[in-house]
Every structure is written in C-alpha cells, then in structure tokens.
C-alpha cells in the first residue's frame, strides 16, 4: 500500500496531514479512557467475592472468586460450604476460561445469510428484541401458541421456558435433561415410589454400593464423589455392572461385564433369587410395598441361568451379587443412575432398580436411599395458566401417547410434527442454553426441523452447533456474571455432627457481565412485552426474582451475602420411613396404561454382524459438548479416543494410537477422526467414547473438529414407550482407517 510508511516518516508528515484534513469534523464517540483528576491509584488490589454457584455442570458447587481489578483470577470452593466444601473439580476451576473464552458471544447477532451457513451482523438489542418479539408474535397469531417449540437447558432457561409454556401456552417444550438424560429415572421412580430419586443414596454410610453403568470417578459431582469415596474408605463393597472397565469398575469388588442392554434381566434375576430364597426384607415388603405376589410371579422366569445367558455373565456371579446384597441389606445403596436414556427399554430398568431397593428394605435407612430434608423455598415465576390438551402432542384421543412422560413434550413428537406439519404447523423455534444438534439423536432430522421454521432464535453464552441455525442469536451472561438459581441442600458442618444442617446458596455474580451480555429475565421480559404479555411479567429483574424466592425462607440476597454467600440453618435427619411410603412392586397404574405392571425385561436389537455397539459416557474434565471449547479442559483431554477390545484390534490390525473414523449401520460417516485406545477393558461387541467432542462449528476455535462427535453417529432413534424419552445406545458402527472400512469380527 502506498502509505506503508514507517512511524518516523509518518510523524514527520503528521502536521501536514492534520493541518490539511479537518479531522475534528468527525462525529467522534465518547472516549473510553479518561484523565483522572486525583492522583492515579495503583492497582485496586485483590478481593474475594462470595456467592458463586458453579454451573460448569448442574451440581451447583458453591464458589468464591478471587478478583483483581474486576478480573476473575481464580475460582475456589466456598469455605463456608457444607456441600462441596473448598473443593471444586477441574471443570469448576476452568469456569474462568469459559468466562473469558475468546469465542464467547458478545453482542446480539442477526443472521443475514442462511440457517446452517450463517453470515452474522451485529445488531442492537432493540433491533434484536423487536425482531424476536414480532416474529414470535406473528407465529402465535397465525398458528397459535403451539406453533412455537422450545429447547431449553440450564438454570437460565427456566424463566423463559415457563414464559413460553405457561403464558404463551405451548406444550412443545423439550428439555434435554429430561428427554435425553434423567427423565426416565424420575418418572419410573415416581410411578414406583411417588418420589423422584435424585442421586440420594447414602453412599458414605453404606455397606454395598451397587451401580448399573454409573461411572463415578469419570462422572464427577464433588459432594457425590466425596460420599462415594467415604463409603469405599469405610469398607463398602462396590458392585459395578458395565460392559467397560470404567473408573468405578477399576475400584470394584465385583465387576459384572454385562452385555449392553440386558441390565434389566440381571436385576430381575437378582430379585427373583432374593424372593425365591426368601432373602428379601419381609417386614418392609409387608408394610411398604404393594403387589408383591403379582410381582414375584412375573419375575419368576428369571432364573440365574436364564439371566446369565441373556446378559453373557456367569450365573455364579449374579448369585454372588444377590447374596452380598442380602447379607448387607438394608444398608445397601442401589444407585438410581443419572443419564439413563440408553436403549429405549429404560423405564423398566429404572423400575427394577426402585423395586430392588424396595425388597431389600433400603429406603430411608442408613446406607440406603435417603432423600435429604432440604429447606423449603417458594417458587417465583410466570403464573400457571390453563391451556388445555387440544394441542398437546402427547395426548391422542384423550389418551396419553407416552403416559409417564417427564414434564414437557417428548422430543420426537415435536420434531415429527414440525417436519410434517401434522397435526399442526410448528413454525417458531426458541433454543435457550441447549445444543439440540449435539444432544438429540439424528442430526439430519434436527436440521429438517430448523429448515421447517419461519423463525429460529437462540440464546447462549457460547456459539454451538445449534447456534449456527439461528436467525437471531443473543448473548447471555454466564453463571459467573449473574444472579439466579438457588441451591438448597443438606450437609454436615462437621463430619461427626449428629444432626444435619441445611444450606441455602443463591447464585450471585462474581464479576460484572462484559460486552452486551444480558440475563434471562431481561431478555424474556422484553420479548414478553413485544408479544403482548407485559401485564403478566412476574418480576422486573433477576435480583428481584431471587429475593422474592429467598423471602419465603425469611432471608435476602443481602443477608446471605453478609453470611458469606451461604445461609445455614438447623436441619433434620432424612432417616425413618414415612408411614405412607409405598413401593409399587406391581403397579396397577402402569398395567392400566397398557404396560407391564411388574418390571419387565424387553430385549433390544442385537449387534449386526461386522458392527460394534456404540457406547458413550462422560469425561471427568468435560460436561458434554458444553465445555469442549474450554482451553484448559481441552488441554487436559483434547480428544475422545475410542475404546476397542484388544483381541478385536489385533484381528483387524489396529494398534493403540491409530487414527480412525467411523461409519454407522445407516451409512453415516463421522466428520472427523480420533485415536484408538486398545484395551481388554471393553467387550468385543462394543466400542466406547467420551461424549461431547468434535464440534462442527468453526466458531469454537478450540473445540472444532477435535475428536469425534458421537451424536453424529446416533442416527437410529429408539423411544422408551412409557416415557417418550430417547434411547441412544442402539447404534452400531464400524471403524474406518485410511478410507478403508474395517469389519468388527464377532
């Protein structure tokens, strides 16, 4: 360029230039740097800010932030916490890197290109909100509230979700945490015991920890892992059923290397053994269960031998597990699991776990399932309004399609309706904190949904594989920059305290939001005003929302802050079975709905010749796809090697570290490749990888293309009939190397 001068020469001409050109006539913006009239201060020093609540995962560990000049330097566990204490996990620490991620969304963006291939333009909040409000309003006017579907996730999505569900009036809301994760567990336990089970197993005080597929240690939630470790230190026996030698299996006393999908058969055989050998808790069964006779009859076919054959494990091992449980009952922790949407037969497995806990009498006893008595807090949100079931896709001819669905509408019903336009058009899509491209199976189908829309809006902190499909993309303040979510729980101040203590920890910002990021109350309210719902707005600010909720416990944000970010109050022990507590071993309600009244094993599709079943799970340093762009976490675990059985590897000529891709049984190839981890620690008929890698969005400059996106290979859809939730482990893959497809030998 002609003016590629040096500074010195430039300066020599500066006077000439400035004198000749009326630079002062430009309409300058107000400068951001200004002279201080007082003596300039040095650094403002370090401060400790209390009230943080982690959301690198959903466990909500309590945090403090070390802040220097408004910049968050470090996160630590809040010393006042009686939950996680001063500990936080790797992901919790790496929250700093989410906060300051270069790729984070900063301003409202409008897509002036195409969905899926966006061209972004920064726009003002005013314009963004006007566009969202008017587009959504037009859809409601033309198609009714059911014309909008919502995919929410996380603490910030609750308020907008309630707005769209309760005030606007659409049933078409699908939360990934329910329909692709724990919903089945909750509804199965509710149908069996009347209560969602959480992970309320008293592992610290138990004699046996019994896990089905839960890979604690790779799956880390601080206080939960602390209780698990304490239990093991106290001598609890650990029984782990897993096709893979997981971190938990590595610590186990009995590792049941079960054939994937057959867990219910294993559970039925254990229960049948306990019943036939009269090793169950007769008193508990008599007082707190219903349908024992029908239940016993229904499971009687499940002999040890039959289950051994079905599950591909030794009969003697099933017996050994059953004996161990019987010998230690009722102080046994039958873990309900968390991510349980596996095979499309999962409601029955979760029922079986609830029933097994019942016949062992392991509810409300030391070492068993013990729900904590948490502080009672009121709820503040949009008021409930009646919208009828006429447009509820889960109701057909006055009958529920999936009678035991978690709150919201099963995802597949929404997607089918959006794509087909039947029974009615769905034309608006609101995505809030969820990444449906990497949480919901069959990505092509999700793309079809987006393409069928008149309008798609996304709210998130980061770009994701879903934000590429938005028309308007709004930047949200992260969990470190806003109030919201209140974690209320129970713990012990000192380990040997007789009585527990309750805690209430409302989230408080550790630093101010940067750029133009806004919180969910602001965004939702502004859209609500534009959609004609100004009079229904329940609170003006997020702070007000939290304060109103805290008022129900006679505390305020200010008082909790003064207490160090966590309010403590006396609690009560959760031991002691409530008189009216009942376990439906045989459920007349489930039978009346047309499903097996006793827990029943439903076999799943066998692995076709030449393929392996694709299994996935959590990495200890990642929370699914949400953390794949985090620089620190990416350094810890940059990709997700595929676990391959050593004998299989030898037969197909693969060795540890080889680079491979995938092709699934429906012909879908992985976009990227990963390395092979050759190990005897996985069955021959399965491969395993960590979930949440291989983003397709180049806007995630750290995570894009690293490892393989397992969800892209989950194209076959299984639906759990009782709950309508997805099963995501019924997909089969072959490996590819250098363009060659490698058959997996039997």
């Amino acid at each position: 360029m002609a003016f590629n001068l040096t500074r010195r020469k430039f300066l020599q001409t500066a006077s000439l230039v400035a004198a000749a050109v009326p630079l002062s006539k430009v309409a300058y913006a107000q400068p951001g740097v200004a002279k201080v009239s007082l003596e300039p201060k040095g650094t403002m020093g370090d401060t400790t800010v209390v009230g943080g609540l982690c959301e690198m995962c959903f466990w909500r560990c309590q945090l403090i932030g070390k802040v220097r000049d408004g910049q968050l330097m470090k996160l630590e566990g809040n010393p006042k916490s009686i939950d996680n204490g001063t500990s936080i996990c790797a992901r919790g620490n790496a929250g700093v890197k989410l906060l300051y991620d270069v790729d984070r969304l900063k301003y409202p963006l409008k897509n002036v290109g195409q969905r899926g291939a966006p061209i972004w333009k920064r726009i003002s909040w005013q314009e963004a909100l006007d566009e969202c409000g008017s587009k959504l309003k037009a859809i409601v006017e033309k198609h009714g509230p059911q014309g909008i579907c919502v995919f929410p996730h996380g603490a910030s999505a609750k308020y907008p979700m309630h707005y769209f569900e309760r005030t606007v009036g659409t049933h078409n809301v699908s939360e990934a945490s329910f329909f692709q994760c724990r919903g089945i567990r909750d509804v199965a336990y509710v149908a069996t015991t009347g209560k969602a089970p959480g992970e309320f197993v008293d592992m610290a005080n138990t004699k046996v920890i019994f896990l089905i597929g839960s890979h604690l240690g790779e799956n880390i939630h601080v206080s939960h892992i602390k209780a698990y470790i304490k239990g093991l230190q106290n001598g609890a026996k650990l029984v782990v059923a897993d096709p893979r030698y997981s971190a938990a299996a590595a610590k186990s006393d009995i590792w049941v290397q079960i054939k994937p999908g057959t867990d219910t058969a294993y559970l039925l055989a254990i229960m049948n053994y306990l019943v036939t050998n009269k090793k169950y808790d007769k008193k508990f069964v008599a007082e707190h269960t219903a349908g024992f006779d029908k239940f016993s009859a229904a499971i009687s076919e499940w002999t040890l031998d039959k289950a051994a054959k079905e599950c591909d494990i030794p009969a003697a091992q099933i017996k050994e597990v059953a004996e161990l449980l019987a010998a230690n009952a009722p102080h046994v922790a039958i873990h309900p699991g968390r991510h349980v949407s596996w095979y499309g037969n999962d409601f029955q497995r979760e029922r079986a776990l609830a029933c097994l806990t019942g016949i062992l009498g392991a509810y409300y006893v030391k070492g068993g399932w013990v729900p904590p008595k948490n502080p009672k807090l009121g709820k503040t949100s949009w008021a409930q309004q009646e919208h009828g079931d006429e447009h509820n896709l889960n109701v057909s001819h006055d009958k529920k399609v999936h009678p035991f669905n978690p709150p919201g509408t099963p995802t597949e019903l929404i997607r089918d309706c959006a794509i087909s336009g039947k029974p009615y058009p769905i034309k608006g899509c609101v995505i809030w904190g969820q990444n449906p491209m990497q949480t919901i199976p069959n990505q092509e189908k999700m793309k079809q949904v987006f393409k069928a829309m008149d309008f798609v809006m996304c709210v998130d902190v980061m770009p994701t594989d879903a934000t590429m499909w938005a028309d308007i993309l709004l930047p949200e303040s992260s969990y470190l920059e806003r109030h919201d979510e209140i974690k209320a729980g129970t713990g012990r101040i000192k380990a040997d305290d007789k009585e527990p203590t309750q805690f209430i920890a409302p989230r408080m910002p550790l630093v101010a939001p940067m750029f133009e990021r806004k919180d969910q109350v602001y965004i939702t309210n502004e859209i609500a005003k534009r959609m004609g719902h100004a009079k229904d707005i329940p609170v003006q600010t997020l702070e007000e929302l939290v304060d109103k909720t805290l008022a129900t416990a006679n505390i305020t944000l200010a008082s909790v802050k003064a207490e160090g970010g966590i309010h403590l109050q006396p609690g009560q022990s959760g031991y002691g079975v409530p008189e009216d507590f009942m376990v439906q071993l045989f459920s007349e309600e489930i039978a009346a709905a047309g499903f097996p009244g006793a827990p029943t094993y439903i076999a799943i599709e066998e692995v076709p010749a030449g393929f392996a079943r694709l299994l996935y799970g959590r990495a200890p340093v990642h929370t699914f796809n949400r953390s794949q762009n985090n620089v620190w976490l990416n350094q810890q675990m940059p990709d997700n090697p595929v676990w391959l059985n050593d004998e299989v590897a030898a037969k197909i000529g693969l060795k540890d570290g080889d680079i491979v891709g995938f092709i699934n049984s429906e012909g879908v190839r992985s976009r990227t490749t990963t390395t092979v981890k050759v190990t005897p620690g996985i069955r021959k008929d399965a491969v395993y990888m960590y979930h949440g890698y291989g983003s397709a969005n180049p806007l995630m400059s750290t995570g894009v293309g690293k490892g393989v996106d397992d969800t892209s290979l989950i194209t076959k859809i299984a639906i759990d009939p009782e709950s309508g939730c997805h099963g995501m482990r019924n997909n089969f893959v072959k490996l590819t190397k250098d363009g060659k497809v490698l058959d997996i030998p039997a």
Binding site: M1, A2, F3, N4, L5, T6, R7, R8, L11, T13, A14, S15, L16, V17, A18, A19, A20, V21, P22, L23, K25, V26, A27, Y28, A29, Q30, P31, G32, V33, A34, V36, E39, P40, K41, G42, T43, R68, D69, Q71, K97, Y100, D101, V102, D103, R104, L105, K106, Y107, L109, V112, A117, P118, I119, W120, R122, M468, M514, P698, L699, S701
Partner: protein
C-alpha cells in the same frame, strides 16, 4: 509538558484511527467521515486506496450494512471463524481479559488515566488508540514509545496481518495498515504472518 501543534496533530490522528475501529454506524460513518478519510489518504499519497474504498461503497446497495457484516466477521463472531478479535489478550494470553489486559490497565493508571464505566475492555484496540491520543496530547513521547513497544506492538503485529489478509473490504485493510504504519518502529522486523 508543552503542548505544541504537532502533538495535537498526532493526537487527532490517533483519535481518528480509534474512531475508524468503532462498529460502523451511519451516525458517524457518514458522507463527512468518508470525505475526510479520502482527503487524509490523498495527503498521504494513497489516493488510489481511497478510490478503491469509494468504488466498493458505491457498488453496494447498503454499504454500511456491508461494513457491519464485515466488522462482525472480522472482530466479533465470524463464520466460519472470527478473524481477529481486537483485544491484546487474545494474542498474548489466548483469552479475553487476560493478564495482558490488566497490564495495559495498570499502564493507563500509572499515567493517571482510568476507564470510563461505558468502556470496553482496557486492551481493546480503540481504547489503546484513545490512550495514545491522550498521551500525545500531553506530549508524553516517552510514555507513548514505551506503551507502543511493550504493550501495543507485541499484539498488534499479530492482529494487523490477520485482518489485512482476511478482510473482504478495502476499508478495513486500509485502516489496519494505516494504524500499523503509524505505530511501527523503523527497525521493527516485518511481522510474522499468523494465519487465523
């Protein structure tokens, strides 16, 4: 320190360059602005670059929107990849608001300046140019040199070629090159090409 006309002129050039890096908006990016820009380029012997910008703008049905889209792609959230966020920390710490931003802020402070409430992060290119403008106004040449060599050039020389090479609009190629010329020491090595 004495305030000479030259200082003022240098200060106003920095200020003008800072303004060029604001998000395009017809409020300031109007006919007057472009006329001043063309005059400036002509005085610098870069009339043809001015013409190129003028032609590009004339060809567009909505030239400001085109610049907004390009600004977003280059500096905010581009697709497939944001080209060059205008923050020092991104290049020095691989982070927004990293240690380098704090160092920059401390430099401002030591010189008796602070950030306004409404300001972006201290290591934003705009604010660094504003700061340089203020130093020039005070004729604090030493401070200016020190800031340029320790806090500005180390990142700017990575930032500039990214933009110059990747941009699809002559306006931004011109602006970053102009800033480069205005801040580059003679003896400084040619910059490393650092592809985004």
């Amino acid at each position: 320190m004495p305030k000479s006309a030259t200082n003022q002129h240098i200060a106003s050039l920095y200020h003008f360059l800072a303004q060029c890096m604001h998000y395009p908006d017809p409020q300031w990016m109007n006919e007057d602005f472009f006329n001043i820009l063309y005059q400036l380029l002509e005085t610098l012997g870069a009339a043809s670059e001015g013409k190129e910008i003028e032609n590009t703008l004339a060809q567009s049905s909505d030239p400001i929107e085109e610049l907004q889209i390009e600004y977003t792609r280059l500096f905010i959230n581009g697709f497939p990849h944001v080209v060059a966020p205008p923050y020092a920390s991104v290049y020095m710490d691989q982070s927004i608001q990293g240690g380098f931003a704090l160092k920059t802020l401390n430099f401002y402070r030591a010189k008796g300046f602070l950030m306004e409430e409404s300001a972006d992060l201290p290591d934003n290119l705009i604010h660094e140019l504003e700061f340089l403008s203020l130093l020039a106004e005070e004729a604090d040449f030493e401070g200016e040199e020190e800031f340029l060599s320790t806090l500005f050039r180390p990142w700017y020389k990575q930032f500039c070629p990214r933009v110059a090479q990747e941009t699809r609009h002559p306006f931004y190629r011109m602006v970053v090159t102009l800033i480069d010329s205005f801040t580059k020491e003679e003896e400084e090595d040619g910059f490393q090409l650092n592809k985004a």
